[in-house]
């Protein structure tokens, strides 16, 4: 689960990770009030969406008067921001964060993530802070300093020094930087984060380190022990169809093609999309109905797939293991009674009791249901059906 910048900065404050003062606002006048309370003469108004690249896309703006704060906030709220991380459809801005303008002397990058290679959290820093860090990582990886932190010993001085020397910090900058990094490590571990990114981390004119940006993501499996974080979930950042699917234990992602897919298991679901493409078609969705695959989940699956008007055929690809194929076949028949399925459904059931399942489907003799013998046969038929060639 991801959270907004303003929420991450709240958590940072709690842990003594220095951030500029600021507040969230849902309307222009509210933004003006926040700016007024902050005081000063320079503010930054930042669109709050779960994606990076806001600065470049026009979602982060400087304001030099209270009126300007209000005007910018009004422009940003309600607009759809398209950045390189939102996908082409963009994300609607529903709130802004108003922050005091910082005196930037130098910008750095500081991030934390789980390193699967060492199986430890790793902290990464770079002098090339600002907006193009991924390019830096690709072109000059030596400019990114990494330290894996063994959680059994925790954050030690030497971790901090390795980063600080790597960044070429001056002697008097070492201490505040290491303190900053240590506090960040504590946030990461305490909150079961799986990603923290500060880009840019800045050094101010007075030699302080401040997090100007803050992105945080969390391990979904650990949310049960962090009710405070769970509360920060913003459903408006998530796809409503995906939320609906999750309620039924289904995992659904909408795509651009016209061949709907219903599969059990994420790996086989991805493989099914691959083979549809391989046979010259385009998958309309990813849908994992999980291990259950009972009449209710299958019916819900059909509903979700058919919400998409592009769908011209549906490929049901289920490998029955512990759940027997004959039961799944009956589930499919029951589901077609509940939901009006008006496109050809190609059904490939393999595994336990596959032959009994084939008989059940055959005897039911429903014209929309076309049995397939194996993965490749099913994919071919589904692609042909979508093209109206079956």
């Amino acid at each position: 689960m991801n959270i907004h910048e303003y929420q991450a900065k709240e958590i940072f404050r709690e842990y003594g990770v220095p951030v500029p003062r600021g507040g969230v606002a849902f309307t222009g006048p509210e933004a003006k009030r926040v700016a007024q309370e902050l005081g000063g003469s320079l503010w930054v108004v930042k669109a709050q969406i779960h994606a990076g690249g806001r600065g470049k896309a026009g979602g982060v703006k400087l304001a030099r008067s209270l009126e300007e704060v209000e005007k910018i906030a009004e422009e940003l709220i309600g607009m759809t921001l398209v950045t390189h991380q939102t996908g082409p459809e963009g994300k609607k801005v529903e709130k802004v964060y108003v922050e005091e303008g910082a005196d930037i002397q130098k910008e750095y990058y500081l991030g934390m993530v789980l390193d699967r290679a060492t199986e430890m959290p790793v902290m990464m820093a770079s002098t090339e802070g600002g907006m193009e860090i991924e390019e830096v990582a690709a072109k000059s990886p030596e400019k990114i300093i990494k330290v894996a932190i063994d959680p059994t010993i925790g954050f030690q001085g030497f971790h901090g020094r390795k980063l600080a020397f790597g960044l070429g910090l001056a002697k008097e900058e070492m201490k505040p930087f290491i303190k900053f990094a240590e506090a960040l490590y504590k946030v990461y571990m305490d909150k079961d984060a799986n990603m923290i990114e500060i880009n840019p981390l800045i050094k101010t004119g007075s030699g302080e380190f401040l997090a100007l940006d803050a992105k945080m993501g969390f391990d979904d499996n650990a949310l049960y022990r962090h009710p405070d974080i769970s509360e920060m979930r913003d459903l408006s950042e998530e796809d409503p169809v995906e939320i609906e699917a999750a309620k039924y234990g289904l995992s659904y992602v909408n795509l651009d093609g016209n061949v709907g897919c219903m599969v059990n298991g994420a790996g086989l679901a991805m493989a099914t999309m691959d083979i549809i493409k391989h046979e010259g078609g385009e998958p309309a969705n990813f849908l994992d109905v999980g291990g259950g695959a009972n009449p209710d989940t299958v019916a819900k699956g059909f509903e979700l797939i058919l919400q998409d008007e592009n769908v011209k055929s549906i490929f049901v690809n289920i490998f029955g293991g512990i759940v027997r194929c004959d039961r799944i076949a009956n589930g499919i028949l029951q589901a077609t009674e509940k939901v009006d399925v008006n496109v050809p459904v190609i059904v490939r059931l393999d595994g336990t009791n596959a032959q009994e399942a084939a008989k059940i489907l055959e005897n039911a003799n429903i014209k929309n249901i076309i049995p397939a013998t194996d993965l490749s046969d099913g994919a071919k038929k589904a692609v042909a059906a979508a093209k109206g060639e079956l």
């Binding site: 993530v113 699967r116 199986e119 880009n199 993501g217 086989l268 493989a271 999309m273 691959d274 083979i275």
Partner: protein
């Protein structure tokens, strides 16, 4: 021969008396696995599925001589169960539970490694040596005995692959579902040399997915250490670039972990890479000259 487990392997089940634990233990027993007992704290002294229940893993190991534990303990307590197994001298823990926090598994794996205990999973179908020993939730009948070792991140794709191999008139020596969580136990790199050393295994199927770098590391390893033919499929070639937030993940992995990158790396290492998941079985037969 086979790897990791066989008909003589003695297995206990942690979370033995729970719903999942009970159902799958029954299935394993029916397959022929030597389930010699189970652990449910507070139920020690009882009998379940005609086998003794113990309060602690230590007691279970002392009484039964078990060397492997199959873990069905709920996510919040999974790491605790893994560490208890390691502490009690278990040699291999097969962790079926889905949804354990990553931080917990990080500590659990470190402790397991320190104690010399191997782990498989979490969030995986388990391990099976065909027609000898099934430790996990896979449908046993698909796995007919034969010369092919199987390593897979995904559950249902493991069944699909085994099914195809069997339809070619071949079969499986041992199949290991390694799981796809951020922290997993045995992976390609540790399992490949086991299959290389196993005289019964003549070819190895490796099924990967997008994300992470395990397959890339495996490719490097295969190039230098594996002489048996390896057949690979990577799921997710057509997965859309996920919406994401931040850059940290991409920076640390040094790439995006796309199917394309992985397939290229494997091909360069001399692996037979199939583009279509329907071609796994055929390719294995071809590699074995059948």
């Amino acid at each position: 021969m086979s790897i990791l487990v066989n008909k003589d392997t003695k297995v206990i089940v942690q979370g033995f008396t729970g719903k999942e634990g009970t159902f799958h233990s029954e299935q394993c027993i029916a397959y022929g696995t030597q389930i010699v007992g189970g652990v449910t704290p507070g139920k020690g002294g009882q009998t379940h599925l005609d086998r003794p229940v113990f309060n602690t893993v230590k007691e279970a190991v002392e009484a039964t001589g078990a060397t492997v534990s199959m873990i069905f303990v709920p996510p919040a307590f999974t790491a605790d169960a893994v560490m208890e197994a390691a502490d009690a001298g278990i040699e291999l823990a097969v962790i079926i539970t889905e949804g354990a926090p990553v931080r917990d598994m990080m500590y659990a794996k470190m402790y397991a490694t320190k104690k010399g205990m191997k782990t498989i999973g979490p969030n995986c179908p388990g391990v099976i040596t065909a027609q000898e020993c099934k430790i996990g939730i896979m449908p046993g009948f698909i796995f007919k005995k034969g010369p092919v070792g199987l390593i897979s991140k995904s559950g249902t794709l493991t069944y699909e692959a085994s099914n195809q191999v069997v339809k070619e008139g071949l079969g499986i020596s041992t199949a290991v579902g390694i799981g796809g969580d951020p922290i997993i136990g045995l992976s390609y790199k540790q399992l490949l040399p086991m299959f290389e050393a196993d005289p019964e295994t003549k070819a190895i199927v490796m099924i990967g997915e997008i994300g992470g770098t395990l397959e890339i590391e495996a490719a490097e390893f295969i190039k230098n250490n594996i002489t048996k033919p390896v057949i690979a499929f990577i799921a997710g070639q057509t997965a859309p670039k996920g919406k994401r937030m931040g850059h940290a993940g991409a920076i640390i992995s040094g790439g995006q972990g796309t199917a394309q990158e992985k397939m290229e790396a494997l091909e360069k290492a001399g692996v037979y890479v199939v583009k279509s998941p329907a071609d796994i079985g055929k390719k294995v037969a071809e590699a074995l000259g059948k």
